[in-house]
C-alpha cells in the first residue's frame, strides 16, 4: 500500500501545481473549420493561466446536439456546447442552460453589445431581448458564380433578381454547360431566407418569437412560384439537384459543371480551395420589383449548460469575451469565411483593405446589414425545427423528382410541420 | 457377345495413375465381383463404368456401344451405393419412382413397377416412410429397389454391404444372390471382402495397385492363384506363404494335417505351436515353421499345446510354388 500512497500524493501535488480550471467545449466543426477553431482556443489558453478550454469534436451538428442531450441526461454535460441555429428553440426551452447574458452578468464580465452586428444577435434573443446563447460561427447564404461559364454564355451582368437568374441559368445551359444553377442547404436558402428577404412570414407569431403556438406559413405564393420555376428548370438542367447540405452542391460547382451556386458564405474557403476557374460572389437573388430585406443567418452559437461552479462559469464568460475580441474575430473570419460579428472587427478589416482584395468575404455582411431586421427577417424560432427542415428537404426532393407540384409539396410540408409544432408545444409547460 | 467390354482402361488424377490399362469382358447375366484391398482401383473402375469418373484413356463399351462420352443416365445402368444414397427428403415410394418419373413413364406403370420391386424386397409397408425412419437393412433394400424398378440390363454395386453388421450382411448377401438369379441382370459388384466375392461371383476379378491380378471363377482362383498375392488374399484364413530355399511355398490352412495318415503324398515340416484358437467345430493352430507363421486348420479339438514341437503334413499336390521376386505361380497353367 505504501508505494501506492506515495504515487497518489505525488499525483495530487502535480495536479495542484497544474490547477487550471478546465472548461470542456463540445463542437461540431470538422476539417479546416476544426483547425481554425482549435487555433482560436489555443490563443485563449495561451492568453491566460487561469482556465484551460478543451475543445472536443462531436461530429456534425445533429450528432453534437444529441451528444449534448445525452450527456445532460447523464449529468456529464460539457460547460459549453455549439448548437446550430435550428436547435435554438430546443435549447432555449430545455431548462438545461443558463442564458449567456445571465451568465455574463453573474460573473460580472462586461461585453459591449452595441459593437455586435444586430441581425446576428437578434436571432438568438428571447422575446424580451435577452441574449440566450453566444453567436460563434455565423454565415448567410450568397450566390457563387463561375465567371468562365458566365463569359461563355455571354452573361454581362451578374443577376440581381431571380428573373435575371432564371435567364442566366438558361443561357449557361444553352452554351453547353451541364448545369445552370445548384443550391445547397435548400430549406434554409429557398424557403427561410427567401421568405425573410421578401419580408414574407415563415411562421405565425412573428416566426415563432411570439410563443410556442406558432403555425407554419411558408407556403406563400412567392415561395411556391420560385420553387415551381426551379422545378421546371430540372428538365433542361438549368436547375440541378445534387443532394442535401453543402458538399454535393459545392462539388458540382467547384468541378466546373454549374454556373451558379447558392450556399452559405462559410463555403468560401472550400470554393477557393476547390475551384480551378475564376469565380465571384454576389447577394442572393430577389424577385424583381421588390425591395429586399436583410438575409437571415445560419451557423451556430455557444450554449452554457447548467450545473457548474462559479469558477468554471467565470472561465466560460472569459472565453466568450475573448471570442468577441477584434483579433479573434478577424482570425476566425479570414480562416473560415464565417462573418465577423463585431463592427470593430469589420471596420478594421475594411480599413486594412481586406475586402478590396477579398470582395467575396464582404457580400454576406452587406446583405445581412442592408436593412434593419423586420419581425419577419429577424429570424425563426421554432421547436422541432430540425424535424421541420427534414420535412422540407423531403418535400422539396419530391418536387425536384417531379412526383409532386410545388404547391402540393409545400402545403404538405406546412401540414406535416405543424404536427411537429403541436407536439412540441405539448412538451413545453 | 459381351455386355460390358473394357479395353486398356486408364485412370489418372493429374500425374497419379491409379488404374493401369485394364482389360475385362463381362458376359450378359454374368455376376462379376471386383475384389481387392482398398486403393486397388476397383471402385474407380466401377465408377468409370457408371460414368461418374472420367476415363483418362481406353474404352468402355456397354451393350456394344462405346459409352466413354455418355452421361451416366444414358448408359442404361443402375447403381447401388455403399451409403445407400437415398434421397432424404423423399418417401420410399418417391425414391423408387424418381427415375421412372424422369423417364416420363405413365403413372400406372410406375405404380406397378414400384409395387413389384417393393414386394420382392419386402418394402410394401414402408412405402410412405422417409429414409430417416428406416433401419440400415431397410435402407439397403430401398437402394436395391431403386435399381430394380429401372429394369436396366446392368446393375453396379459399390460395396453395398459394408455399412451393415455381420448378421445382416450375410442375410443381404443371400438376397442379392437370389435377386440375381431371379432378375438375370448383369451385375458388376465391388467389394473388399473375399467371402462376398467367393459366395456371389460367377467370376472374380482380383485387383491390386490398379492392375488385374487374376480373373476366374471362385474355384479357379481358390485352386490356382496366379500369384502369391491372390493366394494370400483369397481364403479364410488366408494361404500360408513361407520362404524355403529361395522359393515361396503356399499352403492353405485347411490342407495341412497334424499326421501323415490319409495323405497320398505327404510332405512334412517341423513346427512349433504358438497359440490355439478353438472355434468349436474346428481349431486354428498357429505355429512357426522356420520362424515363419503357419496356420493349421484341424477338425474338432487339436491334441497339441502351446510351445510343443510337432510335425505338420501336406499333400504335395496341394502345395503351390511362387517365384520369390515376381510372386508369380511356378506351376500355374
Amino acid at each position: 500500500m505504501r508505494p501506492l500512497a506515495i504515487i497518489f500524493s505525488l499525483l495530487l501535488v502535480f495536479q495542484v501545481a497544474n490547477a487550471e480550471t478546465q472548461i470542456n467545449f463540445w463542437h461540431a466543426m470538422t476539417g479546416d473549420l476544426q483547425s481554425a477553431l482549435e487555433a482560436l482556443v489555443n490563443n485563449f489558453n495561451a492568453s491566460q493561466k487561469m482556465y484551460k478550454v478543451v475543445p472536443i469534436g462531436k461530429g456534425n451538428y445533429t450528432e453534437a446536439l444529441n451528444a449534448g442531450i445525452a450527456a445532460y441526461r447523464g449529468k456529464k454535460q460539457p460547460n459549453l456546447i455549439q448548437v446550430f441555429e435550428v436547435g435554438t428553440m430546443t435549447m432555449m426551452s430545455s431548462g438545461a442552460i443558463i442564458p449567456i447574458q445571465d451568465l455574463l452578468a453573474e460573473q460580472k464580465v462586461k461585453i459591449n453589445w452595441a459593437d455586435y452586428v444586430q441581425p446576428v444577435l437578434s436571432y438568438y434573443e428571447d422575446k424580451n431581448g435577452k441574449l440566450m446563447s453566444m453567436p460563434f460561427n455565423s454565415s448567410s447564404p450568397i450566390m457563387y458564380y463561375n465567371k468562365d461559364l458566365f463569359a461563355k454564355a455571354g452573361i454581362k451582368e451578374v443577376p440581381k433578381t431571380w428573373q435575371d437568374a432564371y435567364k442566366a441559368s438558361d443561357a449557361i445551359v444553352k452554351s453547353g454547360a451541364p448545369c445552370g444553377m445548384v443550391v445547397g442547404w435548400q430549406p434554409w436558402i429557398l424557403i427561410e431566407n427567401f421568405s425573410a428577404i421578401h419580408n414574407l412570414p415563415f411562421a405565425s407569431l412573428e416566426n415563432g418569437y411570439g410563443g410556442v403556438n406558432a403555425e407554419l406559413k411558408f407556403n406563400t405564393p412567392a415561395v411556391v412560384q420560385n420553387v415551381e420555376k426551379l422545378q421546371s428548370g430540372i428538365k433542361n438542367k438549368s436547375f440541378v439537384y445534387e443532394g442535401r447540405r453543402s458538399d454535393p452542391a459545392r462539388n458540382a460547382f467547384t468541378n466546373g459543371r454549374c454556373g451558379m451556386y447558392l450556399d452559405t458564405s462559410a463555403q468560401i474557403s472550400a470554393v477557393k480551395a476547390g475551384s480551378k476557374f475564376l469565380w465571384g460572389a454576389a447577394p442572393l437573388p430577389y424577385n424583381a420589383g421588390t425591395k429586399p430585406q436583410n438575409s437571415i443567418i445560419g451557423g451556430a452559437t455557444l450554449w452554457a449548460f447548467k450545473g457548474f461552479t462559479a469558477k468554471e462559469n467565470k472561465g466560460v464568460a472569459e472565453f466568450i469575451k475573448f471570442l468577441g475580441q477584434t483579433d479573434s474575430q478577424i482570425a476566425w473570419h479570414k480562416s473560415t469565411g464565417y462573418l465577423p460579428i463585431t463592427l470593430s472587427a469589420y471596420k478594421k478589416l475594411k480599413k486594412e483593405g481586406y475586402y478590396k482584395e477579398n470582395p467575396e468575404q464582404e457580400v454576406a455582411i452587406l446583405q445581412l446589414t442592408r436593412t434593419k431586421p423586420s419581425v419577419l427577417s429577424r429570424g425563426i424560432r421554432l421547436g422541432g425545427f430540425t424535424q421541420i427542415r427534414e420535412i422540407v428537404e423531403e418535400e422539396l426532393e419530391k418536387v425536384w423528382a417531379g412526383t409532386a407540384t410545388s404547391k402540393a409539396a409545400l402545403d404538405s410540408a406546412v401540414e406535416r410541420g405543424n404536427k411537429v409544432l403541436q407536439n412540441f408545444a405539448k412538451t413545453v409547460k | 457377345m459381351s455386355q460390358i467390354l473394357i479395353k486398356k482402361l486408364v485412370k489418372k488424377y493429374g500425374q497419379n495413375q491409379v488404374v493401369h490399362g485394364i482389360d475385362l469382358e463381362i458376359k450378359p447375366k454374368e455376376f462379376v465381383v471386383l475384389v481387392g484391398p482398398s486403393g486397388c482401383g476397383k471402385s474407380t473402375t466401377l465408377r468409370m463404368i457408371a460414368g461418374l469418373e472420367e476415363i483418362s484413356s481406353g474404352e468402355i463399351q456397354i451393350g456394344n456401344k462405346v459409352v466413354n462420352n455418355l452421361a451416366p443416365k444414358d448408359r442404361n445402368i443402375a447403381m447401388v451405393f455403399q451409403n445407400y444414397a437415398l434421397y432424404p427428403h423423399m418417401s420410399v415410394r418417391e425414391n423408387l419412382s424418381f427415375a421412372l418419373q424422369l423417364q416420363k413413364m405413365d403413372r400406372k406403370d410406375i405404380d406397378r413397377r414400384v409395387r413389384q420391386a417393393a414386394e420382392i424386397l419386402g418394402l410394401m409397408d414402408l412405402l410412405e416412410r422417409r429414409p430417416g425412419q428406416l433401419s440400415g437393412g431397410q435402407r439397403q433394400r430401398v437402394a436395391m429397389g431403386r435399381a430394380i424398378v429401372r429394369n436396366t440390363p446392368v446393375f453396379l454395386f459399390d460395396e453395398p454391404l459394408s455399412n451393415l453388421d455381420a448378421k445382416l450382411r450375410n442375410q443381404m448377401r443371400t438376397e442379392i444372390k437370389k435377386l440375381h438369379m431371379r432378375m438375370g441382370t448383369t451385375i458388376v459388384y465391388v467389394t473388399h471382402d473375399q467371402v462376398e466375392a467367393m459366395t456371389l461371383a460367377d467370376r472374380i476379378v482380383v485387383m491390386k495397385d490398379g492392375y488385374i491380378q487374376q480373373i476366374g471363377s471362385p474355384l479357379e482362383i481358390y485352386r490356382n492363384p496366379a500369384n502369391a498375392f491372390v493366394a494370400g488374399f483369397i481364403g479364410s484364413p488366408p494361404t500360408n506363404l513361407i520362404e524355403i530355399s529361395g522359393q515361396i511355398i503356399g499352403m492353405r490352412p485347411e490342407h495341412i494335417r497334424l499326421e501323415a495318415e490319409g495323405l497320398s503324398n505327404p510332405v512334412g515340416y517341423q513346427a512349433q505351436v504358438e497359440v490355439l484358437e478353438p472355434l468349436g467345430g474346428e481349431t486354428l493352430v498357429h505355429t512357426l515353421v522356420l520362424n515363419q507363421k503357419v496356420i493349421v486348420k484341424c477338425e474338432g479339438l487339436a491334441p497339441v499345446r502351446p510351445s510343443q514341437v510337432i510335425q505338420i503334413y501336406i499333400d504335395k499336390e496341394n502345395q503351390r510354388f511362387f517365384d520369390k521376386t515376381s510372386g508369380k505361380a511356378l506351376n500355374y497353367n
Binding site: E242, Q387, E393, E397, K419, V420, V428 | L52, F81, G132
Partner: protein, 295 residues
C-alpha cells in the same frame, strides 16, 4: 423426457445463470421497457417536460401518410434485399462448390464484404453509382439511362438495395457453401444415374436438402434488412430523395435523433419490436415442424 440436473445447493443454478441474466436485463429488458414507456409519452429531448399521452404517438404515426408509406417501402426494400443477397450468395456458393479445393485466399475474399462497416459499404456504392464520377453511374448515363439516385426515388431504392445486399451476400455464401458441402456426393451421383441433369439435380435434390439453411437465411436476411441496414441507408441516401428510401428503422433514427421526437420514435421502435417478435415466433414454429432428414 427432459433431463433434470440436481444440485446440492439449490441456489447454485441461479447463481450460475445470473451473469447472463444481468446482461439480458441491463441491455435488453431495461431499454425495451424504457422504450415501451416512452412510446406512451411525449417529452422534450432533455426530458424536462414529459406528458403521458396513451396511444397518441401510435395514432399520430398511423395517421401520417409518410409512415404508412414507409411500411410499404420497408417491405419492398427488405424483400428485395433478402432475395438479391440470397440468390447471389447461393449462386456464388454453387459455383464455388464445384471447385473441389477452393483456395483459402479466394474464400476469404468472398467473405470479406461482411467485415466492411455498413457506412463504408454505403459510401462505396454511393461513389460507384454517382452519375458523374461513379463507374457504374457513369456507365449507365453514357448508355442513355437517365440515372440519378439523388433525384429519382426508384433509382435511390435500387442503389440502397444493392448496397445493403452486397454486404449480406458473404454471410449467405458461407452458410450456403456449408450447406452444399454437407449434401452427400453419392446422392447427386445417384440422381445423375437416375436420369437427372445438373439443373434438375440442383432444384429437385439440392434445394430441398438446403431448405433448413434457406429458411434460416430468409429469416436472418429479413431481420438484417429490417433492422441492420440503418448505416447503409444513412451513408447513401439519408432516407431520401423525398423519403423514397426511408425505411421503418431509418425513420426511428431520423425522427428520434434528428427530429428529437422521442415519443414518436419510441412508438416506432415498439412497432419494430412487435415485428421482430412475430418473425421470431414464425421462425421457431417452422423450425419446430421442420423434419430432420437424417434423424
Amino acid at each position: 423426457m427432459l433431463k433434470r440436473s440436481h444440485y446440492e445447493n439449490p441456489i447454485l443454478p441461479y447463481l450460475l445463470i445470473s451473469p447472463q441474466m444481468l446482461i439480458v436485463i441491463l441491455f435488453f429488458l431495461w431499454p425495451a421497457g424504457a422504450a415501451l414507456l416512452q412510446a406512451f409519452q411525449i417529452s422534450d429531448p432533455f426530458g424536462q417536460g414529459t406528458a403521458f399521452v396513451w396511444f397518441d404517438n401510435f395514432k399520430n404515426l398511423f395517421e401520417t401518410l409518410e409512415y404508412r408509406q414507409s411500411f410499404l417501402k420497408t417491405l419492398v426494400f427488405s424483400v428485395s434485399t433478402a432475395l438479391l443477397s440470397l440468390l447471389m450468395g447461393l449462386a456464388l456458393a454453387a459455383l464455388t462448390n464445384r471447385i473441389l479445393k477452393i483456395k483459402t485466399v479466394t474464400r476469404t475474399l468472398l467473405i470479406w464484404p461482411y467485415a466492411v462497416a455498413p457506412a463504408m459499404a454505403g459510401m462505396l456504392w454511393l461513389f460507384l453509382f454517382h452519375p458523374t464520377y461513379g463507374v457504374i453511374g457513369h456507365f449507365l448515363v453514357s448508355n442513355g439511362v437517365d440515372w440519378n439516385p439523388v433525384l429519382n426515388g426508384t433509382h435511390a431504392m435500387v442503389m440502397v438495395i444493392i448496397a445493403a445486399s452486397w454486404k449480406q451476400i458473404s454471410y449467405n455464401f458461407v452458410f450456403f457453401l456449408g450447406g452444399l458441402q454437407a449434401v452427400p456426393r453419392s446422392i447427386l451421383e445417384a440422381a445423375a444415374i437416375d436420369g437427372a441433369g445438373p439443373l434438375r439435380r440442383f432444384f429437385v435434390i439440392v434445394l430441398p436438402l438446403l431448405s433448413p439453411t434457406i429458411f434460416f437465411l430468409i429469416v436472418m436476411n429479413l431481420v438484417y434488412a429490417f433492422f441492420d441496414t440503418f448505416g447503409v441507408i444513412h451513408a447513401t441516401t439519408e432516407g431520401g430523395p423525398g423519403g423514397a428510401t426511408s425505411t421503418l428503422v431509418y425513420k426511428v433514427y431520423s425522427d428520434g435523433f434528428v427530429g428529437q421526437d422521442l415519443g414518436g420514435s419510441a412508438a416506432q421502435s415498439v412497432i419494430l419490436m412487435v415485428i421482430t417478435v412475430i418473425l421470431t415466433i414464425v421462425q421457431f414454429k417452422v423450425v419446430e415442424k421442420k423434419v430432420h432428414y437424417n434423424g
